[in-house]
């Protein structure tokens, strides 16, 4: 056993750090320094910078334009980007529909979509949840009626994060209402500019316009936009949720957020107080345990092993810790945590977005399969507990 990186890997880390020092535009760096919120156009600007370097999709295979890094190098790259506070890229294209198209798509679909996802020319969003289909995702009711060479979509998707900025949406739709609910679902790609598509942003409790309701009214979608077998969308969806779960352990983000908590605590003269320092340390220790579990999962993946039991806890615990870090930031701010969101001059620059993120982060234990769903899965698949 060895926790150190090889000399090749250390060289790669130096290369990444040196590149970052150069490549991050000053305005983005200034925002990163105070952990400010990045707007969508800033995220996409950073996407294109990473793409030009070839590092926008470290986990993609070389045949689809990935950089051909080893799992350890991918980890080093991701961690360095997170620790530098670079904008988090939108996951919907790069980490969700992209890999799904690689796994299930036709060569034509791969050629049409993957390069555009990689370059950032296509911004994607996710059309899974519906008002009546949350944790019970297979209850989707958006219908796709067969009409010659196209399907005609009618229905409503919800929690479609950043749909207002998206060029494309991937959707689970019902193509056969006569069979058991999982069996009649298909996975389709819809151009957001199609007539009949409307994304209506709504405010989150953090007052960010992250979510949308997205409506489909008689939207024609060519049949060539179905990914995977017709009526076989559930398989595609499950594979894709797997990608999402490992994605949102958010260890690097939590690490950076803890550093921010310490900076805020130092500014409030609390870091020398054993009680406050102890609270921060306890949370940091929890995060370190998660990080080690993440390392174990990564090292297993590097050897080509199937995900072990340690990987199933990453989303469950990672999402809780990310929430707790911002909760602690609020506590450290004390009376300043009373201030309404993002009012320049009221709280310090470093504290500007804490309240908004604290509020929005209640979502982390809900999206990507809620904590309760994760626990159901672990109880059944790992602990072998009986079903009802």
């Amino acid at each position: 056993m060895d926790l150190s990186f090889s000399s090749d890997d250390l060289r790669f880390r130096d290369e990444v750090r040196a590149w970052l020092a150069d490549a991050m535009p000053p305005d983005l760096r200034a925002k990163a320094d105070i952990d400010a919120h990045f707007e969508m156009d800033e995220v996409m600007r950073w996407h294109r910078i990473l793409h030009a370097k070839g590092w926008v999709a470290p986990h993609w295979p070389t045949e689809f334009g990935g950089p051909g890094l080893s799992p350890t190098q991918r980890f080093i790259l991701t961690e360095a980007l997170e620790l530098a506070g670079t904008p988090s890229l939108s996951p919907f294209g790069l980490s969700m529909v992209g890999p799904a198209i690689m796994q299930f798509g036709t060569p034509e679909q791969q050629e049409r979509f993957l390069p555009a996802i990689l370059s950032g020319d296509q911004v994607w969003c996710q059309g899974y949840s519906e008002p009546g289909a949350g944790s019970d995702l297979a209850a989707v009711r958006t219908t796709a009626r067969d009409d010659g060479d196209a399907f005609v979509l009618d229905g409503q998707k919800t929690w479609t994060t950043y749909a207002q900025y998206a060029d494309w949406i991937f959707c689970l739709v019902r193509t056969d209402a006569s069979v058991k609910k999982q069996a009649g679902i298909s996975f389709v790609l819809v151009d957001m500019r199609s007539p009949g598509v409307e994304a209506r942003p709504m405010l989150t409790i953090g007052h960010t316009p992250a979510f949308c309701d997205t409506f489909f009214e008689g939207v024609r979608v060519p049949k060539t936009n179905v990914v995977g077998p017709l009526h076989g969308g559930w398989t595609v969806a499950k594979a894709l949720l797997g990608h999402e779960r490992t994605l949102i352990a958010a260890v690097g983000q939590s690490q950076r957020a803890i550093r921010r908590v310490k900076r805020i605590a130092a500014a409030h003269d609390l870091l020398d107080d054993p009680s406050w320092a102890g609270r921060i340390a306890r949370l940091e220790i929890e995060l370190q345990a998660l990080q080690m579990a993440n390392y174990r999962a990564l090292a297993g993946a590097a050897l080509g092993h199937a995900p072990g039991p340690e990987s199933s806890i990453l989303k469950l615990r990672g999402s809780e810790i990310f929430q707790r870090v911002f909760e602690l930031a609020m506590d450290v701010m004390g009376p300043d945590a009373l201030a309404w969101f993002n009012q320049p001059g009221v709280v310090s620059e470093l504290e500007q977005t804490v309240a908004s993120t604290y509020c929005y982060n209640r979502a982390t234990t809900i999206y990507g399969g809620s904590s309760e769903i994760q626990k159901n899965i672990i109880a059944k698949l790992i602990l072998g507990l009986p079903g009802v």
Partner: protein, 379 residues
């Protein structure tokens, strides 16, 4: 980064598993526990000798000191499996803690005299260190030593000396002015009085009163006693985490098996979502603790204080909270039977609580974690 075991490590793990299964199942711990208190009972000297013959007692010591030249990762593998069946022999107290203190502070001659017989399984050791007033301080304070010529006068009382009742040689810490000194004192030495006590886990320990003269030849004079004490405690803490992982895994298996077989309201209680989710929380804690155990096993051997201290302390703090959570929930999920002495889950629960306290509790290690430079680096 590599979390794979080497072939030698796999062999070690497999032979330890075979041993615990065939020779020291949990029922043996219970039997031993029920006979603690009179010297000669408790753990088995013949089993200890066998461990010596297998080379297990030599694992953490360099070849120059008669050891195997292994690492704490090897020791952790062994102790994790010992934890699963609560092997009662004093591996942690004698090999890891007293052994490493003796290794680091003693001369080659002293190693030959006191460490080598222990490595062979002929004797066992104990570190007589803890003082009631000073909680988990690695610096001795209330026990004092003063020197005149070749003779030391040592005075003080040590509490909860693990394996103290049985050890052939005690490694005793004392304050010589501001600096700690360590003595290797045979149990029948005129200056020590040993009184057996039992600890929460049911095992034997001792209160050791030291009062009298100890010859200079018994003072460990081959290395810095301050460093020796800290490294022995860090090794002890890391290896307590490893043992704790074995306990947690065993307790989780006991519990999920109970959930599958116990029926109420006409169904297996494992079908109830509230209980399933509690079991999953246990599982999560076990995996996190296992992850921290890897970190601690590797880092506890690191000579860089700023690397070793925060890693060991983080893992030990996690043991205190995570281990406690897992064993408490195990009792809850067992229901009334979990409260009886007859059921095994309580044996694990008490050993886990003891491990949580040994070599520093959560508060102690959180403070130490905060005190390491890494805590405020790069803000």
């Amino acid at each position: 980064m590599d979390f794979q075991l080497s072939d030698e490590q796999k062999l070690l793990r497999d032979s330890v598993r075979t041993f615990t299964k065939q020779r020291s199942p949990l029922s043996r711990f219970r039997k031993v526990r029920d006979h603690v208190g009179s010297r000669g009972a408790g753990w088995d000297a013949a089993v200890w000798r066998e461990m010596g013959e297998l080379g297990w007692l030599s694992l953490p010591f360099p070849e120059a000191a008669g050891g195997f030249g292994g690492s704490l990762v090897d020791v952790g593998l062994l102790l994790e499996n010992f934890g699963a069946t609560l092997v009662p022999e004093p591996y942690l107290a004698s090999v890891v803690v007293a052994g490493i203190a003796l290794l680091r502070a003693g001369t080659a001659e002293q190693h030959a005299r006191w460490l080598a017989p222990m490595i062979d399984g002929q004797t066992s050791l104990a570190l007589a260190h803890a003082e009631r007033a000073h909680r988990f301080d690695v610096r001795p304070r209330a026990t004092t030593a003063s020197r005149r010529g070749e003779t030391w006068t040592v005075r003080g009382t040590k509490h909860y000396v693990a394996n103290g009742e049985r050890a052939d040689v005690l490694i005793v810490s004392a304050a010589h002015g501001d600096l700690p000194v360590l003595f290797a004192v045979p149990r029948d030495h005129a200056a020590v009085r040993i009184e057996g006590v039992r600890t929460l886990d049911g095992l034997g320990a001792a209160t050791v009163a030291i009062e009298g003269e100890i010859a200079e030849e018994h003072r460990l004079s081959g290395g810095d006693a301050t460093v020796a004490l800290e490294r022995a405690h860090d090794a002890g803490a890391a290896m307590a985490v490893a043992e704790g992982v074995g306990i947690c895994q065993a307790v989780l298996e006991l519990t999920t098996s109970h959930l599958r077989s116990r029926e109420q309201f006409g169904v297996a209680i494992g079908t109830f979502q509230a209980l399933q989710h509690r079991a999953v929380e246990m599982f999560v804690e076990v995996e996190l603790l296992r992850s921290m155990s890897v970190l601690a096993s590797i880092r506890a051997d690191d000579d860089d204080d700023d690397v070793r201290r925060p890693a060991v302390s983080a893992a030990k703090a996690k043991l205190a909270t995570g281990g406690r959570f897992v064993t408490q929930q195990a009792i809850q999920l067992h229901g009334g039977i979990g409260i009886t002495d007859e059921h095994d889950v309580g044996l694990y629960f008490k050993r886990m609580h003891a491990l949580g306290l040994m070599f520093g509790d959560e508060e102690h290690h959180v403070r130490r974690f905060v005190a390491s430079p890494g805590f405020t680096a790069g803000l």
